[in-house]
């Protein structure tokens, strides 16, 4: 009796320990950012909100397919691939999952033909930025479906550099599509060497001005200098991570377009001078030799005009 009692208490203790472990495991799986509810000395207690779940299924008819999945907040994602199979139609094949090219070892499984299709399913916890990437389900040997998980992509960002002049001000805009979910906030960064430096509005000189809309963020830089040239990044912050787009700024001085302009100006002046001088010297020669030949020239041209005029009879020939 006492042995079974201790056995029972041991089991209860074990159960309690496991329960406590499960409890802590649940608390590390946080969906919302931790909320400070207790006093300054006690560690924050995170609310146990249920995790969002999502489902993405793809039916593969060929050998390759790519699917873009936009993740806004941390989510438990169920990815499912259904392959219609190839000519061989083997009853049993193997399949596995990879993330960013690296095979997930525990994902190897035998798949049986069900309703004419091979199914491969797996549940993934997408919690933070590292969990984003390309997840592929691969049916041996060759069929593959790529799921590209990412934060919502930014709208059209100008790929050519923005050109502006020293002393001028420039406006850089980053937009999120109307149909996509709103970001929580926007950030602007400037590339300094190899790291990104966050741009603060209160920087010395008050040169930067950031206007944030729900779907749009504007960065205005006043009083440009040449050192302002470079890469600027705008980031749309979502629960899962930041979606980044970049813009390149080029600051030039007024001398840059002035150089070709002065070149053209010189060319124009030279050509005009050459033409006028050529004409002056040409006309002097004409004056010297032209006096004799004039009357003949005129009557000839007169006849020429008559002959060319439509259907007019040439009654202007003098008859003596």
């Amino acid at each position: 009796m006492s042995a079974s009692y201790t056995h029972l208490s041991c089991q209860l203790l074990l159960l309690l320990m496991v329960c406590r472990h499960v409890n802590t495991k649940n608390t590390t799986v946080i969906t919302e950012p931790p909320v400070e509810t207790s006093g300054p000395n006690t560690p924050p207690v995170a609310p146990l909100t249920p995790l969002q779940t999502g489902q993405k299924s793809v039916v593969l008819t060929g050998e390759n397919h790519t699917e873009k999945v936009e993740v806004v907040n941390p989510v438990t994602l169920n990815l499912e691939c259904a392959w219609t199979g190839n000519n061989k139609r083997l009853p049993n094949i193997t399949g596995y999952w990879t993330k960013d090219g690296k095979t997930i070892e525990t994902s190897y499984s035998n798949i049986q033909l069900q309703n004419g299709r091979y199914y491969l399913r797996r549940e993934f916890s997408i919690m933070n930025e590292e969990d984003l990437g390309t997840y592929s389900c691969i049916f041996d040997p060759k069929a593959k479906v790529d799921f590209i998980l990412a934060a919502p992509y930014l709208g059209e960002v100008r790929d050519k550099p923005i050109v502006s002049y020293v002393g001028d001000s420039v406006v850089m805009i980053c937009k999120m599509d109307e149909k996509k979910p709103k970001p929580l906030s926007w950030n602007w960064y400037k590339q300094n060497g190899t790291n990104k430096v966050k741009i603060e509005v209160d920087s010395p000189g008050h040169r930067y001005k950031i206007t944030k809309d729900e779907k749009k963020a504007k960065l205005v830089v006043h009083n440009l200098t040449e050192s302002d040239s470079g890469l600027y990044y705008c980031g749309a912050v979502y629960g899962i991570g930041t979606s980044v787009g970049y813009l390149q700024l080029r600051v030039i001085t007024y001398f840059e377009p002035l150089k070709p302009f002065i070149g053209i100006l010189v060319e124009v002046l030279v050509l005009v001078a050459v033409i006028l001088i050529y004409e002056k010297t040409g006309s002097k020669k004409d004056d010297q030799s032209g006096a004799e030949g004039n009357p003949d020239q005129n009557t000839n041209q007169l006849h020429g005009e008559n002959a060319a005029a439509d259907g007019r009879s040439s009654t202007r020939q003098r008859k003596v």
Partner: protein, 430 residues
């Protein structure tokens, strides 16, 4: 007996240099105007204004181009083509230069709008005039070659302006384009003035009298032929300016997307170039009178435009009809200015051209908004094409009338001449 003055068109020789110069002038003016649209977005973004406010800049330029035409003609008669073209070049360049300084939006209306428009007017009109004065036999083809400059430069300037804007931003691009427009002055320098001589035939002796100074002839308007031709110009302008605006939205509406609408415009531009050259050559063969050819071409163009909406979304059909439209557009352009000489004779050409351009602007200003109104009412782009087709076909009737009147006048003239010489001979025999 006093015979009429004749300016002696060399019909070749230095005339071809003039054609080349006119080719460049038309390119540096009209092609720049056609590519204004590339600056649209950048200017709109820079000043933070609406699209319609930005488009007023182009409207300002085009309006000044037409309003300045009679002034340009008058100045051409007063001074010479060379002086006016040089002035035009300087105005264009200064307009672009001041615009590149980026002072303010109203300043942009003044510089890119008024200065540039006036400069274009002062360059384009005398260039046309010069080509017509230098040629008689080869006039249609000379004018066709000169006006094709507009097409060739428009095709080149498209990507070139785009590159300029990307490298130097729109202010720098305007500065460089202003510099390029200074080359209009070079072309002006090439326009050597002709000498007009007055011949009197008095019993065997030929005397040379100094040339009579010409004045701007507003009285030309009293001529019914010119008046009717101006009505043709108004209707034709209304018909011609509508399709380029509505072709792309129509293509989109019908279901063509991606790069097809833009390629339709390129096709029209290429067909335009071919039309100008081929029609100039055909007109030169004098198989038909200029006005007869004009009637045929204008009415065909009207018919083609009426057929365009019926093509629905058959891509091949739309491309073919657009090509034919572009070709006929080039033909009309090649002939409609040289026809002015047939109507008012070479002495009145400058004034006639000025008046023609001034009144044509009415059509150009009324046509597109009216078409836009019809499109809004019917909810269908076909209405715009039906309107332009109707305008063109009705304008063809006026050309027929003008042709008839001109033929009648010439027949009367030759009758009077034969009577005159008959009486001369009888007098001499006495």
């Amino acid at each position: 007996m006093l015979e009429s003055r004749r300016s002696c068109p060399p019909d070749g020789g230095y005339g071809w240099v003039v054609v080349l110069s006119a080719f460049w002038v038309m390119g540096l003016t009209a092609a720049v105007l056609k590519n204004f649209g590339l600056f649209f977005l950048d200017i709109q973004r820079h000043f933070g204004i609406l699209a319609s406010t930005t488009s007023w800049i182009t409207s300002c330029t085009i309006a000044m181009f037409h309003i300045g035409a009679p002034a340009a003609s008058a100045m051409t008669l007063l001074f010479s083509q060379r002086v006016v073209i040089v002035i035009g070049g300087l105005l264009c360049a200064s307009g672009m230069l001041l615009a590149s300084l980026d002072l303010s939006l109203p300043c942009l209306y003044f510089t890119m709008g008024i200065l540039q428009g006036t400069g274009i007017s002062f360059s384009w009109i005398p260039a046309n005039s010069m080509v017509s004065h230098y040629f008689v036999r080869w006039r249609p083809i000379a004018y066709a070659i000169a006006s094709s400059g507009e097409c060739v430069f428009a095709i080149i300037f498209g990507p070139f302006f785009q590159w300029l804007i990307e490298t130097y931003s729109w202010q720098g691009a305007l500065l460089i384009i202003g510099g390029l427009q200074l080359n209009i002055c070079v072309c002006g320098a090439l326009m050597r003035p002709l000498e007009t001589t007055q011949n009197t035939v008095d019993q065997g002796a030929t005397l040379l009298l100094p040339k009579r100074s010409k004045t701007f002839q507003c009285s030309l308007l009293k001529k019914p032929e010119l008046l009717l031709y101006i009505v043709f110009a108004i209707l034709a302008a209304a018909g011609i300016f509508i399709p380029p605006l509505f072709l792309v939205p129509f293509a989109n509406h019908v279901g063509l997307h991606d790069y097809w609408p833009a390629s339709i415009l390129s096709l029209v531009a290429l067909a335009d170039l071919m039309g100008r050259l081929i029609c100039g050559w055909v007109a030169n063969m004098t198989l038909f009178r200029n006005l007869q050819l004009l009637t045929v071409v204008v009415s065909l163009q009207g018919v083609v435009l009426m057929l365009l909406p019926i093509s629905h979304n058959y891509l091949g059909c739309i491309m073919f009809l657009s090509f034919v439209y572009g070709f006929l557009f080039g033909c009309v352009v090649a002939i409609h200015v040289t026809s002015i000489v047939d109507i008012v004779s070479l002495e009145g050409f400058d004034s006639g051209l000025g008046l023609f351009m001034l009144f044509r602007s009415i059509g150009g200003c009324v046509g597109p908004p009216l078409a836009g109104f019809l499109v809004d009412q019917t909810g269908n782009y076909s209405a715009a094409f039906y309107l332009s087709g109707f305008c063109l076909i009705s304008s063809a009737f006026f050309v027929i009338l003008v042709d008839y009147l001109v033929q009648k006048k010439e027949a009367n003239q030759t009758e009077a001449d034969t009577d005159l010489h008959f009486s001369q001979r009888t007098e001499q025999q006495k």
